[in-house]
Symmetry: C2
Subunit: 293 residues, 2 copies
């Protein structure tokens, strides 16, 4: 038996189409064109690629994209000033400051300064608190993408044993909250978990978000389980080049799981699509419109 | 074998002593006397008893207690005005509005109006978000009490399989966050969990917070497990009177568990003690003093 491969690229493309339709409706019915501002400080090549893709997909969805590229030597106060300007700009519905930031800037201070209503990354403490207490929130993009992918396989996640491996603020903890909202029985496992393999083997739905290449082996997976692999790790190949692998040993898992996301082409493409969705949601709320996505 | 009984009364008394000592230090070294304002709207008898006990224990710990009793017909705006006054009053370090509130008042609006720095119940979305993202927070009292009681049995909870039954904002979710901070492998189970008995049987540490009398039976408990029973349910006795029982079938559990909290005398007494602790913590932070508890 071979697992069904969950196509993140196709799912993300479909979500981007839904976003584009929602944007058309917003323009036609409300005269609102959502705008996303992305701020990049410095020249980290991976961040630059990511920012470029965000801008491109924002425009393709019919929204306005505002890119702000600041010198690597930018001071925290200069960046905070820009964030405050974007907070006050009615054309900007979403603000994303690309992480990581240079060492002279405190990321926490920057995130805390973003208007929670425009915090499309969902990292502000108010959005974390709203998610934790079951209120409408802007939710971090990768966790939302994980849940959408799981729902490609299971229309209803109620009662499933979900194991989340990893407890970061960016993925592990928010995805656990979302799965709880989906009525899963949720376990959060991490580096201090005893018998991690045994805990993983309980999972009907396994979310791997540890950032360690191929740590989760095939025999850690319950036969037929759905596996969502958040990891994107670059490892050396024999020829001196590198390749991307997930947190799950994919070839092994393929023989055991019922469904699995590949790396690349799984969770990765969902992240920007969910960012666009968050931007539309933010634009709706800021204009007193019932969210249409 | 009979389980060790975890003495909540004694643990709470010891914590209140620690609080009283901290208050003495605050007075002597900083000239600060922490103050707790408790607001009761209406005449619910259980709430009145609870408010009276809070006031009494606040004074016994050397702090100032400010009780505000409002008529059951008080409007939301009147209550919000009082909260705003307390927010602005430097003598008040902690504000607790006793729940439930009469139907004409939106509890969420009241909680959102309390200054997060004075939110000693830990219900404000900013405190929930701070807890969820690992920042210093005012944490709801009952969950903190649960963890303190568990640590009476285990100096270090790292690696324990903790099962939390119940997913309320007041107990289930915050206690799960705290146990994750203690490095437990944490599972949140609830009414939609399949095979709840089987899930409970995995627990080294079982937190019962469902509000259903004696729902968790002895054979749901792993031999030797530590059981923390948050439930306080009033049930009829044969003689027409009532008695208090927990969410766990205590007599059955006593024969299986390694340690267990009784009802009453377990988690219950911890709640006010933790409220006093939160008030001292709030007073420290508001005065720029490193928390001394």
């Amino acid at each position: 038996m071979t697992a069904r491969i969950i196509d993140g690229k196709a799912t993300a493309a479909a979500l981007r189409q839904d976003v584009a339709k929602a944007v058309e409706t917003l323009k036609a019915d409300h005269g609102v064109t959502p705008g996303l501002a992305v701020v990049l400080v410095g020249e980290d090549p991976a961040s630059a690629v990511y920012v470029r893709n965000k801008g491109k997909q924002t425009v393709e969805a019919g929204m306005n994209s505002y890119e702000h590229r600041l010198d690597a030597a930018t001071s925290e106060e200069e960046l905070l000033d820009l964030v405050r300007k974007l907070n006050a700009d009615p054309a900007v519905n979403g603000i994303l400051v690309q992480l990581p930031l240079p060492a002279q800037i405190d990321s926490a201070a920057v995130i805390a300064t973003i208007d929670p209503a425009k915090d499309v990354d969902g990292f502000h403490v108010i959005n974390a608190g709203r998610l934790a207490t079951g209120l409408p929130a802007l939710v971090p993009c990768t966790p939302v993408g994980c849940v959408i992918l799981a729902r490609q396989v299971h229309a209803d996640l109620t009662g499933m044993e979900a194991i989340v491996v990893g407890r970061s603020n960016i993925v592990g903890k928010p995805v656990a909250q979302l799965l709880l909202n989906e009525n899963c029985t949720v376990t959060i496992a991490h580096s201090r978990t005893r018998d991690l393999a045994g805990v993983c083997r309980r999972a009907d739905l396994l979310i791997a978000a540890v950032g360690r290449p191929e740590m989760i082996r095939g025999n850690w997976i319950k036969p037929g389980a759905t596996v969502i692999d958040v990891g994107i790790n670059r490892v050396p190949k024999d020829d001196g080049k590198t390749r991307l692998v997930g947190d799950v040993a994919y070839d092994e898992a393929l023989k055991v799981a019922g469904a699995i996301t590949p790396v690349p082409g799984g969770v990765g493409p969902m992240t920007i699509a969910c960012l666009l969705r968050n931007t539309v949601e933010a634009a709706c709320r800021q204009n007193g419109i019932e969210p249409i996505l």
